[in-house]
């Protein structure tokens, strides 16, 4: 499962999570998203996304 980031605005797509609110089910591979899909926030085309290997922020746990 990979993550992709919109180079137009920073919106991130995570294959594991999908985008259910935009009709993309969790587990949907990037390759299976249509080529004419665009960033839901800024309209950047799919080709303007880049695969990233950046972990999620995790809040510090209280000691």
């Amino acid at each position: 499962m990979k993550k992709y980031l919109c180079l137009g605005c920073g919106f991130s797509y995570d294959e594991a999570l999908g985008l259910p609110e935009h009709g993309i089910a969790p587990g949907t591979r990037w390759a299976d998203i249509p080529d004419d899909w665009v960033c839901p926030d800024c309209g950047t085309p799919k080709s303007g996304f880049e695969m990233v290997e950046i972990p999620y922020y995790e809040p510090a746990r209280p000691q």
Binding site: C6, G10, T44, I54, Y57
Partner: protein, 248 residues
């Protein structure tokens, strides 16, 4: 030592964004308002150039015309966005709740993280010129944050001063990334101490300098890698540079 590229001022991407037509909802201002943007790297519709340098993705030299021109409120995630104001006055409004005004030598770091919107406006009566820098974060969807500071031109004359990064007095960010500034008189040679693991990007705001033997003039830039130190020989009075170190 290795030069990755030399990018002359006129070779940068150029976009002209009027406040009417297709950009009407994106660009603020009266009908004659216009943003001009010189991009060092691929950005938005400019995609025929250089795709950034490691975690550094955007380096835009932007001018907003006066009396209200700028970007209307629009969303971001994740990117760490910086603005270094070179002239005029920039009004920055963000959804963290900050309304700020920045003038020459002021700069901010806005980390969009889990989601933040901002508006960038020139409500003054002269052109506003700023360098906009976007950097990938060390972690996705962190809490958004905003910080600002000022480059103290007098205290930092003729030396390399760190503005952003892991150096006391600089604004910290969640990334292996630094922005330094060098404002220097002619005839001085500076040693830019860095690390071989980082990509280096030197941009001349004003003046003229020889960077590792390559002459750069106003708004010229170059990238180097595999360097632990770079010699910068300043050859014009009033030279002002941004020096970026970016994780590759």
């Amino acid at each position: 030592m290795s030069v990755r590229f030399v990018l002359r001022a006129a070779e940068r991407g150029y976009s002209r964004l009027p406040s009417v037509g297709l950009n009407a909802s994106y660009v603020a201002g009266h009908p004659d308002g216009v943003i001009t943007r010189h991009s060092s790297f691929n950005f938005h519709e400019y995609q025929s150039g250089i795709p950034g340098l490691g975690v550094l993705k955007v380096f835009g030299d932007e001018v907003f015309s006066p009396n209200g021109t700028g970007y209307n409120m629009h969303p971001h995630h994740n990117f760490i966005i910086m603005a270094f104001v070179l002239g005029g006055a920039l009004t920055h409004i963000n959804t963290i709740g900050k309304i700020d005004e920045l003038k020459r030598d002021d700069y901010y770091v806005f980390s969009a993280g889990s989601g933040g919107k901002h508006s960038e406006l020139n409500i003054g009566d002269q052109d506003m010129n700023a360098i906009y820098v976007w950097v990938l974060p060390g972690r996705l969807l962190a809490p958004p944050s905003y910080r600002r500071a000022r480059f103290d031109r007098k205290a930092n004359a003729n030396r390399i001063a760190c503005l952003v990064g892991d150096t006391p007095g600089a604004l910290p960010i969640d990334q292996t990334f630094k922005v330094s500034r060098l404002a220097s008189a002619a005839g001085r040679t500076h040693r830019w101490q860095t690390s071989r693991e980082l990509g280096l990007y030197a941009f001349v705001l004003e003046g003229k300098a020889d960077v590792a033997g390559t002459t750069l003039e106003r708004r010229d830039s170059m990238a180097l890698e595999d360097e632990s130190a770079v010699e910068i020989a300043v050859t014009a009075d009033g030279t002002d540079m941004l020096l970026v170190e970016s994780r590759l």
